[in-house]
């Protein structure tokens, strides 16, 4: 049983209430930080912890905090990115739904560290039932004196609000989120300036993921050094993994980073293996935007090293034979899965969600979806396969925000690893699904 930092008390009855959360040791980090630490000392602890942003990018949280522009008479903001919309990822929703006070405690401690007097939780609009849970918990925190004026007599004051989005995946991108929070379309901004300099209302702003913020209380309570001892190398701490797809036990699991992927996938403590006794064919390890990997390459790298659940191990081999931990959105596929259909589905998603601001993304995502649709529906040509790769290359790196990359990588990696399956579809237009897995084999990867 691995160490649980975020989910230790998740099954305690009534943990969604202030009273029970407090009884289980909740809000200690607020007391400790506000009464015994300066804001800079809190930032230093987070730096020492090695905590990396849990929204997907994996950027060091403490470093991000230290970029925040010094006060120049402008307010500073902390905005929690709870716009969880990445296919395969549902960890933040579960955390907020079950233990809303964990996020609120993290928001208070983090806001104190950053000098924010007003903070926002931007939650995706579809999760209105979670918004209600959070609002109730925030009201409890106000009533208990942990929010509002002069918190615990420390002289520090904070207002915390929840803001619903309107249904747009792009608002998970931090600058699009800020535009949306300002009441506009969620079009990403050009960077620089980064939000740390010009964020919400052109004021210095930090945008952090739910899981990152909810981890801060443990770091403050136990020190950054203790947190850094968990995990492997630069992948410190624990991570929530949302496991979905063809699994015996889908759900949200908290793992210590460094857990072997094979243990995560097959042990009864976690996913319990592939459902219906079928074979494991492929996986998307970090949310739909990361490259898909065939089963063999997920369990071991092209060099034969067993993969671990860490940022580094999963990306070993680059995009030729590796993937990314990303948001921890884990989608397993059994041997009946049609990779072409799956790729078309994800491509349709990115076409639907492109904000339309950059031509390569606006036009390219639609083009890829059309090509994949015709291959999947028996109207494809052999040259369509190379065309797909070509279009994905034209999108990658040529857009303001990473949605273009997110749309390109699943397509390029699917063709790289499962090209025969695409060819099979073109040759057999009347058949819906290619038979069995057609992984090319590690020896081919050098030429991919």
């Amino acid at each position: 049983m691995g160490l649980k930092i975020l989910t230790e008390h998740i099954n305690v009855p009534g943990i969604n209430t202030f009273e029970t959360y407090r009884k289980m040791g909740g809000y200690r980090s607020v007391e400790k930080a506000l009464k015994t630490m300066t804001p800079d000392e809190v930032v230093d602890e987070v730096k020492k912890s090695g905590l990396r942003g849990r929204g997907g990018a994996g950027f060091p949280t403490g470093m991000k905090w230290s970029f925040l522009a010094k006060p120049e008479g402008k307010p500073r903001y902390l905005v929690c990115n709870a716009d969880e919309s990445e296919p395969g990822t549902f960890k933040d929703r579960v955390l907020m739904e079950k233990i809303p006070h964990a996020l609120i405690e993290g928001m208070i401690t983090s806001s104190y560290a950053l000098g924010a007097r007003t903070s926002y939780i931007y939650i995706r609009g579809e999760l209105m039932f979670v918004l209600r849970i959070l609002e109730k918990a925030i009201a409890e925190a106000y009533a208990a004196g942990f929010l509002g004026e002069n918190i615990l007599g420390s002289g520090y004051s904070l207002d915390l609000h929840v803001h619903p989005g309107g249904g747009a995946y792009i608002c998970g991108e931090e600058t699009a989120l800020l535009e949306s929070l300002e009441g506009k379309r969620g079009n990403p901004r050009n960077k620089p300036p980064f939000p740390a300099v010009q964020g919400l209302y052109a004021c210095p702003t930090v945008v952090n993921n739910v899981e990152s913020i909810a981890t801060v209380p443990w770091i403050v309570n136990n020190t950054g050094e203790e947190y850094a001892k968990i995990g492997v190398g630069r992948s410190t701490g624990t991570k929530l993994i949302s496991a979905g797809g063809h699994l015996n036990k889908p759900g949200v699991y908290e793992i210590e980073l460094g857990l072997p992927v094979e243990e995560f996938l097959f042990s009864d403590e976690y996913c319990g293996g592939i459902w219906k006794g079928r074979q494991f064919k492929a996986v998307v390890a970090g949310g739909s935007s990361v490259p898909i990997l065939p089963a063999q390459l997920f369990l071991k790298t092209a060099e034969g090293t067993p993969r671990l659940m860490t940022y580094e191990s999963l990306s070993e081999g680059g995009f030729v034979s590796g993937t990314m931990l990303g948001s921890g959105g884990f989608i397993a596929m059994d041997d009946t899965t049609c990779i072409v259909r799956n790729t078309w589905n994800f491509s349709r998603f990115y076409h639907h969600e492109s904000c339309g601001q950059c031509s390569p993304c606006r036009e390219g995502t639609g083009w890829m979806e059309k090509i994949l649709h015709r291959i999947e529906h028996g109207h494809g040509h052999m040259h369509d396969i190379d065309l797909l790769v070509n279009v994905s290359k034209q999108i990658e790196g040529n857009t303001i925000c990473p949605l273009g990359d997110a749309a390109a990588w699943p397509v390029a990696s699917a063709v790289r690893h499962f090209r025969e399956e695409f060819e099979w579809h073109v040759k057999h237009p009347d058949k819906a699904t290619a038979p069995g897995a057609v992984y090319r084999g590690a020896e081919d990867l050098a030429f991919a």
């Binding site: 296919p87 549902f90 995946y169 009441g183 899965t337 998603f349």
Partner: protein, 169 residues
Amino acid sequence: MNEITTQAEVQFSEEAMAEIRRYISHYPPDRKKSALLPILHIAQAEFGGWVSPAVQDKVAEILEIQPIEVYEVATFYTMFNLKPVGKHVLEVCRTGPCMLRGADQLIEHLENRLSCHVGENSADGMFTLKTVECLAACGFGPMLQIREKYYENLDPEKIDQLLDDLRKQ
């Protein structure tokens, strides 16, 4: 409900106005526009599940912004219905993880049961069938959302029961 065609006909309830004022108070006084998305949600719930042009004009008036600023937002975000919907809007997730667990079959089953296609209202006006992209329920698919409630781990039998229950409401 019948279509509201003029802004003058749009009257939020006192309860809704209190909620609107509460949201506006969350933002700096010169940044009232920030409350636009929350208010559009309130408006949609208040006026039959969709936001007509007249309703959007009223929202603009409340926030002291130009109507175009509301239109461009309402059309950008997928949660706002721009034409009348049925009493129950069924939003089925069709994205990857749900597809792997049978979302396509679920959608087909609903189309047959409701005798309408995705994007349409059932003949009796009771249901609107929509597909949506990823609702953060990837481990519990296939699923659908009705207003603020999630229905997860669905199969045809559960769907039939759900439709029967909704028809009785």
